[in-house]
Symmetry: C2
Subunit: 309 residues, 2 copies
Amino acid sequence: MKVLVLGAAAGGGYPQWNCNSTLCRRVRAGDPAARPRTQSSIAVSADGARWAVFNASPDLRQQFNDNPALHPKEGLRHTPLGAVVLTNADVDHVAGLLTLRERQAFALYASGRVQEALAANPIFNVLHPDYVARRALELGQAAAIRDGKGADLGLTVTPFAVPGKVALYLEDQSAGPDFGTREGDTIGLKIEAAGQGRGFYYIPGCAAVDGPLAERLQGAPLVLFDGTLYHDQEMVEAGLGSKTGKRMGHISISGPEGSLAAFDGLGVGRRIYIHINNSNPVLLEDSAERRSVEAAGWEVAYDGQEIEL
Amino acid sequence: MKVLVLGAAAGGGYPQWNCNSTLCRRVRAGDPAARPRTQSSIAVSADGARWAVFNASPDLRQQFNDNPALHPKEGLRHTPLGAVVLTNADVDHVAGLLTLRERQAFALYASGRVQEALAANPIFNVLHPDYVARRALELGQAAAIRDGKGADLGLTVTPFAVPGKVALYLEDQSAGPDFGTREGDTIGLKIEAAGQGRGFYYIPGCAAVDGPLAERLQGAPLVLFDGTLYHDQEMVEAGLGSKTGKRMGHISISGPEGSLAAFDGLGVGRRIYIHINNSNPVLLEDSAERRSVEAAGWEVAYDGQEIEL
């Protein structure tokens, strides 16, 4: 099984269009310790030929251009893409669907809640039902991922609920502290290559590592995990916004409730932070925070990273 | 007045993610006579500091990255962008609005029909009304373009109806040959710098040059015009699709009803094709079609092109 990181950054990307922080200025200046990253998306293949994309970032066209594995290979119209799988309805995970127009067959997998969010936006009708099959993922049920015409990609996905929050544009301000979040709004995925006996976890958005999640991840060979923020307060302290990580539905890396602490002792083989916000100092290869996560055995994902499993 | 071409290609861009034609293979191979182009968007500034973007292409994040004029200049959060103006609701003109999130004030100008199309898609609520002022353009009425806080950008825009078609995802298949197209679905714009006595026309989508349009453009110093297709049948003949230019609401460059013929004798100073589809051979700098349009006095827009007026 091959995993290709198409975009390692969180919403906005690195740099973000309207951000003038030190981190964003360094990446714009071409600083070699501050590499640019596009928004959150990975591609996975069991056979190296047919791919499923997990989350469709707004940068998907650029990501397809930058990764020859995803270029068309035959005929006049072709794509190695067989399916898209979504973990939530955030803009940084669904806007790229609008790139996948032009009458190309593929399948679109998401929870019922996320499928509803898409159906409520007629602009996604550019993915015409004659070409794009929308299929619902059920929590706890392994799904064999098939392309738009029903051919098995050799990948099995098992979705599970993780602590999280509904997408920003779907927040119900009158619904109390969870803004109307319901089951299926944010999911994690176990992704396996059928018959290869290997699997990994992809969890780009997660508000906390609770008991059931810790138990699930125990001993996993590979986890790609929510690395949005280093400090829960970092956007507030940097003057970049008013929201904490908790308010955004993202666990932090540091702190007693952070992911570094939560993964300690879980025996996960390879741990990679992904979905990294442009405020997160781990993006800087010369930062103390980068040294700190690396010392704890974590990697920081980057665009174009290839992982063989 | 400065005009900056952010993206010269039509929907899909050049190359298009799922297109394996000779044109797309040449650009992917790095052929110097086949330069890549992102999707349709331009930026205009009266003072060189504050910019209005005309059409928000899906590639807008990449386009902002690639053009230093649009980088933030001061403080922690900033943008030289003051306003976005839309000529229709096509995906290649509106998807980039989703990039302009993150609580940044600007103004969004479009016809009432296009504003309705946006309002019908809750995903665009990421542009929160506390920050983004949506303002309606009225056909035939000059509008002074102001930023989100009301400051005048020094640009005046006069919208006018052009022959065209409603956006693909809004087509009403039961509505007859015009698919329910109504006034305001596709507009052209006259863009002037206040007090500078100069102006130009921006018409990236247009189905025909009829009498009123020809009269309007007579003697204009600069027109950026719909260069989607060279031949009305080129997508069909290349095996890339079943639609003619007429079906897509785009005039062709060649032929007795094409734009080369229609502009002949209009006395337009500078004529530049923009919104160029990846099937159009004028994209190839060594093609007979490129030589033909250049011999007729036209230019073919490219990403990063700067025009002083």
